[in-house]
Symmetry: C3
Subunit: 202 residues, 3 copies
């Protein structure tokens, strides 16, 4: 039951990240296949990088075909309805924030399970959350927005730190995950709403 | 005998991909060493990524020095004779298409052998075929041409799908490989000749 | 004793590479978190890539938190004092050259230890030395300076070749490492001082 719910949220996050990849691809005038590649890359590059760094090969996104399926559906919808999708700014940002929160906690959790220490687990949580967005932007020769945008990577780090700290303190998986994901989501959502950002050097 | 023939074709593909890397490097005014790095990257990044994703480390391109050797020769020839090489458009495109066809089938085949499912094997066939071209363009800060050019990645996917489908249907390795590589080559070659392309979103 | 000295030099190299990443990030107006990401990426991407290619996962930079610690300190100092750090051109270039020399030899040595042949070991020495600089520049959508700058990658290759050749000839680890690192440092330092460079194709 819980597991089905998490899987559903995981695919919701994949879908949202895939839409962000497809929108960037359409804006850079890639062809249909390029749009699908960027959908899949944005949705799965974070998790694939995490699995490669952990030696957990082949990565789950290549083994479970549903990640490709969800990404392709998101890419096709965005390709043929990109005007409408662009207008859905709130729902897209909302599910993107949900995806970020889930990916950060899932990444940190998998790293802990496979024996990495707390600092490494937090780093892999961040990588899982922001890796897709970084590859998406590198593939269209842009500086990654997640390195510039309102508390994006910071939110992932906050969620991963909260989750790892609670786990290290002996708290069970479920409450630690809910707290970590909730914190990440809250930080990201408030940052969008209130325009919070980090300082830039003068 | 067959195996020697395949090895020959494999090095022909490596040579062609290395030339494409060297031409891009010369055009962006990299120095001699930069040209050799891009030759090797364009020729081997697809296979190296495939091997890393499969956990088949160290990648074959680092273990068998002949991949480096072929890449360096292609890079040196292109560096010192880039005007002439640029004019050889037909032979370069021809061997590039041969390389793409071979890499797509070899990549999918290795993935099946190492236990990946059919969807993952097709994805790794595409990665093996287009990974080198993607890294080549990312290293000179350009949007990868393979995400924009006439049916480039699509040809790799078509070949990989044909190969994997035939293998799953119980067909032997050799006829499946010839069919897959032939289909990939045919799609790519016809696309170049007739200017076929995929739609771009309006 | 020797080992403590090498560890110290290793962290000095990490610190210098992290500063180079932070300076690039500040120049491209990334926010504080982006600066820290580029510090860590520039300092550790070479070693992480080496470890992934060797199958030595998880990479040491994720297991030993001190790499993150050194990178963060370098990033914070550069963020808040980037004018002063920019002026320290000599010390920064000097420790960058020390880092390059150490990373090239350490990378080749680890590859030999894990069973790679001499050609592959030299390649991984170069990857360890220049990988961080490449990722740093790709993340700000620039052509990597190490593919264009005075004998940067060439110096790494010279050091790695010397080290591997001496090891293959039966020389002990310590003198081989000192010779290789010394050669790399000398080539790089002379190239900076005298403006040495490789030819660019006309």
């Amino acid at each position: 039951m819980t597991s089905t719910f998490v899987t559903l949220l995981d695919f919701l996050g994949t879908f949202a990240f895939a839409i962000s990849g497809a929108l960037v691809a359409v804006r850079h005038r890639l062809d249909l296949f390029g749009v699908l590649v960027l959908s899949f890359a944005a949705a799965t590059a974070g998790g694939i990088t995490r699995d490669v760094l952990l030696g957990a090969t082949p990565p789950v996104a290549l083994v479970d075909w549903r990640y490709l399926g969800v990404s392709v559906v998101a890419g096709l919808v965005t390709f043929y309805r990109h005007r409408q999708v662009s207008k859905l700014r709130n729902p897209v940002q909302l599910s993107d924030a949900v995806g970020l929160a889930l990916f950060a906690v899932v990444g940190a959790s998998k790293a802990l399970t496979l024996g990495l220490g707390p600092v490494g687990a937090v780093m892999l949580g961040v990588v899982t959350g922001v890796g897709g967005g970084i590859l998406r932007d590198v593939l269209v020769a842009q500086v990654p927005a997640v390195l510039q945008r309102e508390l994006y990577a910071v939110a992932a780090m906050a969620g991963a730190i909260a989750f790892v700290a609670l786990r290290e303190a002996g708290i069970a998986q479920a409450p630690a995950a809910v707290t970590g994901a909730g914190l990440c989501f809250a930080v990201r959502w408030l940052a969008i709403r209130r325009g919070w950002g980090l300082p830039v050097a003068r």
